[in-house]
């Protein structure tokens, strides 16, 4: 990855997200893997919150953009089979944590760039969660090996998320009757579909090229002091900050922020859980979507888990809201932490050298 591509990627995400808000998305909600998957879950009827239902074309664009460039570069490769059920569970806990905070770590950066200081609390929790995940990785944590699919039918399954994204893009563009559309609330606020889709395609293209991963960037810095990915976040933050100041979206403080609450402990623990689960699942919510476009069926299971996690969070009234995180949500995050840490402790694999020629 060259510095130029890193800078362009940061601008596409940072400025792109602000422009999407300008064109109609809710506040600090241009790109967000967790909230936008939650809205897709609503559109599909996985949860029943009438104000959070819209098949967001942005993240569908991520999948399609990543697929397109991976296919062109010969990097599309159907593969999978590394503990899909555990990845499903990790996807669910990743989502429960993100919905307690009200956003994936990407939205954490966007929120901070609009002056929402709760974003900082969440991001500190996210970094701590990644550090905890690394401790498990260093102790031999592994979900086992994925295999490259060679026979026809498994290979076709590598296209599943691309098919799903195409169907959803078609359905949302044609106001299909089998999708739910919010009449009011955040789900009713969105940029024109083609703008959302083009922004998403561009973002997916660059995210695939740079292997952008919110947990990966922090993780690589902790592990080997690699700062390349951090440059993307820095540029993204500055680009979004400039955009927010220009359009008058910037407002510094903890209270009265769009789609946010200021229960510090739960903002911290929410993204802590997301960071931990993302590290154990091999990538943040954004990266899982990108990998699904590259044909990785394990990432698809993680995304299905995220959709289910949105259903659990909203079905049990356990998601955060501008009022805060109610007791159900606090129980859900605590349970998520226990389950995720349990997975981190129990799934291990020993490695040994093999002899040349073996």
């Amino acid at each position: 990855m060259t510095l130029t591509i890193a800078i362009i990627t940061g601008i596409v995400f940072g400025l792109g997200a602000v422009l999407l808000v300008k064109f109609g998305n809710p506040g600090n909600y241009g790109f967000c893997a967790a909230c936008q998957l939650r809205d897709i879950a609503g559109a599909l009827g996985i949860h029943k919150v009438a104000t959070l239902q819209y098949a967001r074309p942005e993240i569908l664009g991520w999948v399609l953009g990543a697929f397109g460039i991976a296919k062109i570069n010969g990097e599309f490769q159907p593969r999978g089979g590394s503990s899909p059920l555990i990845r499903f569970i990790l996807g669910a806990t990743m989502m429960i944590g993100a919905l307690a905070f009200l956003g994936c770590p990407l939205r954490g950066i966007m929120r901070l760039a609009a002056g929402d200081l709760n974003g900082l609390t969440g991001l500190v929790g996210f970094v701590a969660g990644i550090a905890a995940g690394i401790a498990f990785l260093k102790n031999g944590y592994s979900l086992g090996r994925a295999k490259i699919y060679t026979s026809t039918l498994p290979s076709i399954s590598g296209y599943a998320s691309v098919f799903a994204a195409l169907i959803l893009v078609f359905a949302v563009s044609t106001n299909a009757g089998y999708l739910n559309f919010s009449a009011k609330g955040p789900g009713a606020m969105h940029a024109p579909i083609f703008i959302s889709l083009i922004a998403g395609l561009l973002a997916g293209f660059f995210a695939q090229r740079t292997r952008m991963c919110l947990s990966g960037g922090v993780r690589d810095y902790i592990l080997v002091r690699d700062t390349q990915m951090l440059i993307i976040y820095g540029v993204m933050f500055v680009a979004a900050l400039i955009g927010n100041l220009y359009f008058g979206f910037f407002k510094l403080g903890f209270t009265g922020q769009p789609l946010a609450h200021d229960m510090h402990l739960w903002n911290f623990l929410g993204l802590f859980l997301t960071g931990l689960a993302a590290t154990l699942a091999g990538g943040c919510p954004l990266r899982q979507l990108i990998m699904s476009g590259e044909g990785n069926t394990d990432a698809m299971f993680c995304i299905l888990g995220m959709l289910a996690g949105a259903g659990i969070a909203h079905g049990f009234n356990a998601a955060g809201s501008p009022v805060g995180l109610a007791i159900n949500g606090q129980i859900a995050v605590s349970a998520g932490l226990v389950i995720t840490a349990g997975i981190g402790l129990k799934y291990r694999e020993n490695f040994s050298f093999m002899n040349k020629g073996a």
């Binding site: 592994s142 490259i148 990966g216 050298f353 002899n355």
Partner: protein
Amino acid sequence: MEKVLDLRGLSCPIPLIRTKDSLTVCDSLTVLVDEMPAKENIIKYVKSQGWQTECINKGREFELKIRKINSL
């Protein structure tokens, strides 16, 4: 005897962690990976340490030969 580490199919960043750990106990190592990001991460790490690496493409897989010899 040359040490070989089979890291194919392992999720990110396990290939990098295993390579890094193994290089603390040996001076030359061959690793097998089958994902582009894993290959890129390992090469980036090895180069950042100033060591030598050679990558052989074997279809969908990559064989990385790493030597802890300063390339300068």
